[in-house]
């Protein structure tokens, strides 16, 4: 009997490796590899995590400093952009105001206007005056009417070279001759310390209703006619009174007055010399 010769160990090993290689190439070892590799991968992940943590810990001071610097730069940029945004929003608001003023000027082409900015108000709450940034150097004279995009504002009462003081129609001393439409009733618009407007000298039989428009009458020579003043808010007829009590909602928002227009081609007429005065023999 012939004794078989054992295969060399290297051949067995080579065959095993070749078999394993073939199995691996064929995909038959994937489940085994997956199971076997899992602990190794977990271990590798843990090592990487710890190494990264240590590295980050060592590099942290530099990073925080860089981040803080970057943060400061970004905050400065945000602040600058916010300022620009606020300025642009302001310009948009101003543009819409200017557009409204242009609309008003187009609706009343018979007048010449100069646009002025409101730069101050009277420090006393008893007085309703504003200060505008146009003065005698700009051709502004006392007596010139002042309007807003919505309607009548008041009248220039004092002027210096670069500024003027305007008495608002809401001032308690203000008196404006007005006409109520559509009834064409004439009346006297007076202001008050609270800023409310009311009409005086409205006859009891005049047909005045809430919602009627109030425009300047042009009588007295202080204001040009047909400038919108406001709208009738309410009326009250008292039996014993000679006149109606009429309150008016002003067209101009006086609390938020920023831009106004001065009518520069209107010359007020002083009719005081025409008002008869009692003679020396009069009682």
């Amino acid at each position: 009997m012939m004794k078989s010769r054992p295969l060399p160990s290297w051949l067995i090993l080579a065959l095993l490796l070749a078999g394993l290689l073939l199995l691996a190439l064929g995909g038959y070892l994937a489940p085994i590899v997956r199971v076997a590799a899992a602990p190794a991968l977990r271990a590798q992940s843990a090592v990487v995590r710890y190494v990264t943590a240590v590295r980050d810990y060592l590099r942290t001071p530099t990073d925080v400093q860089a981040l803080r610097q970057r943060n400061q730069e970004l905050e400065a940029q945000v602040a600058e952009l916010q300022t620009q945004l606020a300025l642009l929003q302001q310009q948009v608001a101003d543009l819409s105001l200017y557009a409204a003023l242009v609309d008003f000027a187009r609706a009343h082409p018979e007048h010449e206007y100069k646009t002025a900015q409101v730069i101050g108000r009277d420090p006393s709450p008893f007085l309703h005056y504003i200060i505008i940034n146009l003065g005698s150097d700009d051709g502004i004279r006392p007596g010139m009417p002042v309007v807003s995009a919505q309607g009548l504002v008041g009248q220039v009462v004092a002027v210096i070279p670069r500024a003027a003081r305007v008495r608002l129609i809401t001032d308690p001393t203000s008196r404006v001759s007005v006409r109520i439409t559509p009834s064409n009733t004439e009346a006297l618009l007076v202001g008050s310390v609270t800023g409310d407007l009311s009409l005086e000298m409205v006859p009891l039989d005049a047909k005045v209703n809430p919602g009627d428009l109030v425009v300047t009458a042009g009588l007295g020579g202080e204001y040009p006619p047909n400038i919108l003043v406001g709208q009738v808010l309410s009326t009250r007829r008292l039996a014993h009174a000679l006149f109606q009590e009429v309150s008016v909602q002003p067209a101009t928002p006086f609390e938020d007055l920023r831009l106004v227009m001065v009518i520069v081609n209107f010359r007020p007429v002083d009719i005081e010399p025409l008002i008869p005065t009692p003679g020396p023999g009069a009682p």
């Binding site: 709450p125 001393t173 310390v193």
Partner: protein, 170 residues
């Protein structure tokens, strides 16, 4: 000199702010009277450079520039208040807050009260006294008393910077 310039700049800035901004912040028709508050805080803080009436005249003159009151009315109104303050300042040394609140209270009645008289009788403005009291004077007193301490804090900082150390009271 530095104290005079510093005081005048402070008072002018107060009048400017009043005209441009503060006069629009209203309670009914009353508003914080910033020039009055700044003046009261300044004369409480500054006791050696100039008498109270001097600073009152300065406020009155500046106030008159911005106001439509007849010429000199602001000067007269504040001059009277300055004399009252001078008398009070001689009697009340400590604590400064007591003098501050008394000045603010008296000034809050004095300035709008006299302004009302000027507007009513010199400018022929038909404002009923009750309306003036309820709508303007009392709200002004309330607002001024509320704003007195914050304004004093700001003015005190300014005074510490402007006045020499021995001139700073309180």
């Amino acid at each position: 000199m530095r104290a005079y310039v510093g005081g005048l700049i402070l008072l002018w800035f107060a009048v400017l702010l009043q005209s441009a901004v503060v006069s629009q912040w209203r309670l009914l028709q009353g508003a914080v009277d910033l020039p009055l508050l700044v003046w009261a805080a300044w004369v409480t803080r500054e006791r050696r450079v100039a008498p109270a009436w001097f600073w009152a005249l300065a406020v009155g003159a500046l106030w008159g520039l911005y106001s439509a009151l007849p010429s000199g009315a602001g000067l007269v109104i504040y001059a009277g208040l300055g004399l009252v303050a001078q008398a009070l300042r001689r009697r009340i040394w400590h604590p400064p807050y007591l003098l501050l609140f008394i000045l603010v209270f008296v000034g809050s009645l004095w300035v709008p009260g006299l302004t009302y008289l000027v507007v009513r009788f010199a400018m022929q403005s038909p404002i009923p006294f009750r309306t003036a009291l309820v709508q303007v004077i009392l709200p002004t007193v309330l607002l001024n008393l509320l704003a007195a301490l914050p304004v004093y804090a700001v003015v005190a900082e300014w005074a510490d910077w402007v006045l020499p150390a021995e001139e700073v009271g309180g």
